[in-house]
């Protein structure tokens, strides 16, 4: 397969083979062309070159409908349900049998879903599950899952893996894309690695394959992350940058208190829908809290607009990059956006300063700027970097990161952890929500665990192995650390 978008060659020579009952991981760095490959295989894009064979016979997959008829059913990286229709109508649109669908929804652990619910009103994680359930209900021969789990909380990921494995065991083929090695090693039989649009290797999944895959993906060796937490201990002795006391916000944030010090990275860990969205919305000035108060550098603050929060030094990077990006504008304009936000800076631009700062941010994050004319042409991971780069360019005091590594490849992730650390060491205070528990020890000093809208635990990075975090996130540590938390 080959595919170019104007000057950019997304795929040059990509091949892939899936047998019955096999789960093949499709791996590659951000921008390697994985999604493009999936789109071509399922008729959403026309390839420049290449062909698809099904059971050895050439197949035509000219449109998504044709692909579906040939048994190739995808779950794309972006939700593909119609926002203004209810669930039932979405099913009707693709002739998906509702009974099977509901069976799969239940199997995947989504409760309380009504067929009359509007897609628009459902949270992202649910949408991903519905996408999957819809695909499963059409009984595909080959299932193509593109970063299906990136936005899912850990509990749902497990169910998805179980269901997918069961599919393969029934004799279906699965193409599975993810940047998470734990999932790959748990689920997949083999891995096909793409680099710059070219298939560079097919590997069996076995112990120690991870390093080989990374090497193939990146074309270089890469250190695994590690770090020491000495500096941050010191940090906690200063006055807190951010003091939250008994914050509450509808519908799910009940009572959250914490201190965030300069030089510290405070992790936030929670299962889906425990109030973490509301917490970040309150801190970033999007919604007003219904209770509690918030002080920045010792002065009490009440934000009525994100610009108030920004003025107080609190900058927010949302998890969904589509929310934060000007998709049709250039990388430069995206990064420079906060410079013009306030009315007094509506005048002539300071072009030189802007160019310098933007370049600094781009270099520091190693943003791939080949398609910089329009941010929507960057790959997902690079888009994510742009959303962070915006705040590097303005200078950060307090950074609120909401799942910043969602859908990002290992290499980029390993650029982001040290960056976060480095910012903290330079005096920034960072609040870091992540849906991937293994990130906590790599990026954070301590982790705040939220369950049911309340803080249930505060765990030091040294103790934050996945099991401890998981138990806490499920609210299973009630009592032990809770007093310590409330005393803080």
């Amino acid at each position: 397969m080959a595919k170019s978008f104007g000057a950019v060659k997304a795929l040059t020579d990509a091949s892939l083979h899936v047998g019955r009952g096999q789960v093949v991981a499709l791996m590659g760095a951000n921008g390697a062309g994985k999604s493009t490959f999936v789109k071509i295989l399922t008729g959403a894009l026309k390839p420049d070159r290449g062909h698809v064979l099904i059971q050895g016979k050439p197949a035509r997959v000219g449109s998504p409908a044709q692909a579906r008829a040939s048994g190739l059913v995808p779950v794309y990286q972006e939700p593909s349900l119609i926002p203004d229709l209810d669930v039932a109508d979405n099913l009707r649109l693709g002739d998906t049998p509702a009974d099977d669908f509901q069976h799969w929804v239940a199997e995947l652990g989504i409760e309380g879903l009504q067929l009359t619910d509007m897609i628009r009103d459902l949270p992202l994680a649910t949408l991903r599950i519905l996408d999957l359930a819809r695909a499963l209900a059409s009984k595909p021969d080959v299932l193509l899952l593109d970063e299906m789990t990136a936005a899912l909380p850990t509990d749902l990921v497990e169910r998805v893996l179980r269901v997918v494995r069961a599919q393969a065991d029934e004799g279906r083929g699965v193409i599975y894309i993810s940047h998470r090695f734990t999932e790959i090693s748990e689920l997949c039989d083999s891995a096909t690695v793409l680099r710059d649009g070219r298939t560079v290797g097919d590997l069996k999944i076995e112990d120690g394959v991870e390093e080989k895959v990374v090497e193939l993906m990146l074309g270089t060796k890469l250190d695994l992350g590690s770090r020491d937490t000495g500096a941050s201990k010191k940090a906690r002795e200063t006055t807190p940058r951010l003091e939250a006391r008994n914050l509450a916000a509808a519908p799910r944030l009940q009572d959250v208190s914490f201190d965030l010090h300069p030089g510290e990275v405070l992790g936030v860990v929670a299962l889906e829908g425990q109030g973490q969205d509301e917490l970040f919305n309150v801190l970033s000035g999007f919604t007003k809290p219904t209770g509690g108060n918030l002080s920045v550098d010792g002065t009490e603050q009440s934000f009525s607009h994100p610009s108030d929060a920004i003025a107080a030094g609190l900058t927010f990077v949302p998890g969904d990059r589509a929310e934060a990006l000007l998709s049709q504008r250039s990388v430069r304009e995206n990064i420079a956006l906060p410079f013009s936000a306030r009315m007094r800076s509506w005048g002539p631009l300071k072009l030189r300063r802007e160019r310098e700062r933007v370049k600094l941010a781009v270099d520091r994050l190693q943003i791939d700027t080949r398609a910089q004319g329009e941010v929507q042409r960057l790959s997902g991971g690079n888009q994510q970097k742009v959303t962070i780069g915006r705040w590097l360019a303005t200078g950060v005091e307090t950074l609120l990161l909401f799942d910043p590594t969602r859908g990002i490849d290992v290499r980029t992730k390993r650029q982001i952890y040290p960056l976060v650390r480095e910012l903290a060491e330079q005096g920034a205070a960072i609040l870091y929500y992540t849906s991937e528990l293994e990130e906590v020890p790599l990026a954070c000093d301590r982790a705040l665990v939220i369950f049911n809208g309340r803080v249930v635990d505060l765990i030091n990075a040294a103790d934050a192995d996945e099991q401890t975090l998981m138990r806490a996130a499920y609210g299973l540590t009630e009592g032990a650390n809770a007093e310590a938390v409330s005393a803080q």
């Binding site: 409908a65 995808p74 794309y76 593909s80 349900l81 119609i82 203004d84 229709l85 979405n90």
Partner: protein, 311 residues
């Protein structure tokens, strides 16, 4: 969501309409069956134009040429009726309207020029076509057609209202229940997601514009049924239909809304005109009042939605 919540906007419009009818009755105690009858007749062309506009707005487009298509259909029918019976003439006109709409849709899909530009250009093309068909008012309409929308049945029910309801329902209800109707909403809501769900996006758009043309043809026919003559100059239906569509709860951009709300909005706009005339308000002020009410209703709607979202 409960029925009342889902249709809150439409129910609000119905309430507003009832209040306005009450006000009319207060100002003019003799307002009754004949008043309703003339209200329904006045609303007829606006209702069809609005239905036409609503369909393309739902599919995510807009059609600036509705008034021009209506004019072409009106003069075509008026000319045809000089030489043939009403039924074939009506049938041919409906087909021509459908065809003109599909031409609009086809051009949008093929040229990939934005809807608003294509239909702006087609506004002129159809307007010119109408003048080429009839360069001065003329043609004829069979009497029974004119009578079919004049007067009342069952004491007070205006025939025009019944004709309107039947015509719109015959097209819209089967459409809305069909896969095509669903596709129209899907494409308007999220074109990419619809494509990926297997919807033939291009054909759906062509079909939606075709339905728009069909409603325009009905609008054109209603014009000649009202006036008895074909006039080759477009009336004020473009902006009025956009206004009614938005007032009726259809979201510009697509995917949300139906036809009932916009048609009720048409009646609201018409009855405001009636009230202002009955109250002998200075005509220059009526323009101001109409503009203000339009803006105020939409503002109020936005305000209520904001309140509800906060609560």
């Amino acid at each position: 969501m409960s029925f009342a919540q889902k249709h809150a906007w439409t129910l609000g419009l119905v309430a507003l309409l009832l209040v306005l009818l009450g006000i009319t009755k207060l100002i003019q105690p003799s307002f009754g069956a004949s008043g309703l009858e003339s209200l329904a007749r006045a609303a007829l062309p606006f209702a069809f134009a609005t239905a036409a506009m609503a369909v393309v707005v739902i599919v995510g487009g807009i059609d600036l040429s509705v008034a021009s298509i209506m004019t072409v259909c009106a003069v075509t029918a008026a000319v045809l009726m000089q030489s043939m019976g009403a039924i074939p003439a009506v049938a041919i006109t409906l087909l021509i309207g459908l065809g003109m709409g599909m031409v609009n849709g086809g051009l949008i899909v093929l040229t990939r020029v934005p809807d608003i530009v294509v239909t702006l250009a087609m506004l002129f093309v159809w307007e010119g076509t109408a003048l080429l068909i009839l360069n001065a008012p003329g043609g004829t309409v069979h009497d029974w057609l004119e009578d079919s929308i004049a007067g009342t049945v069952l004491f007070w029910m205006p025939k025009a209202l019944i004709v309107m309801a039947i015509a719109v329902a015959l097209v819209w209800i089967p459409l809305k229940r069909s896969k095509l109707g669903l596709s129209i909403y899907a494409v308007g809501s999220d074109e990419l997601a619809a494509f990926r769900s297997g919807v033939a996006v291009g054909w759906t758009k062509v079909a939606a514009y075709g339905v728009c043309g069909l409603f325009c043809a009905m609008g054109g026919l209603s014009l000649i049924m009202l006036t008895g003559i074909g006039e080759p100059v477009p009336g004020p239906y473009l902006l009025a239909s956009v206004a009614a569509v938005v007032l009726g709860g259809v979201v510009l951009g697509g995917g949300i809304g139906g036809l009932l709300g916009p048609i009720i909005a048409v009646f609201i706009l018409r009855i405001i005109r009636t009230i202002l005339t009955l109250a002998a308000v200075d005509p220059n002020v009526t323009t101001i009042v109409e503009g203000t009410i339009m803006v105020a209703v939409v503002m109020l709607g936005a305000f209520l939605v904001m309140r509800r979202n906060k609560a």
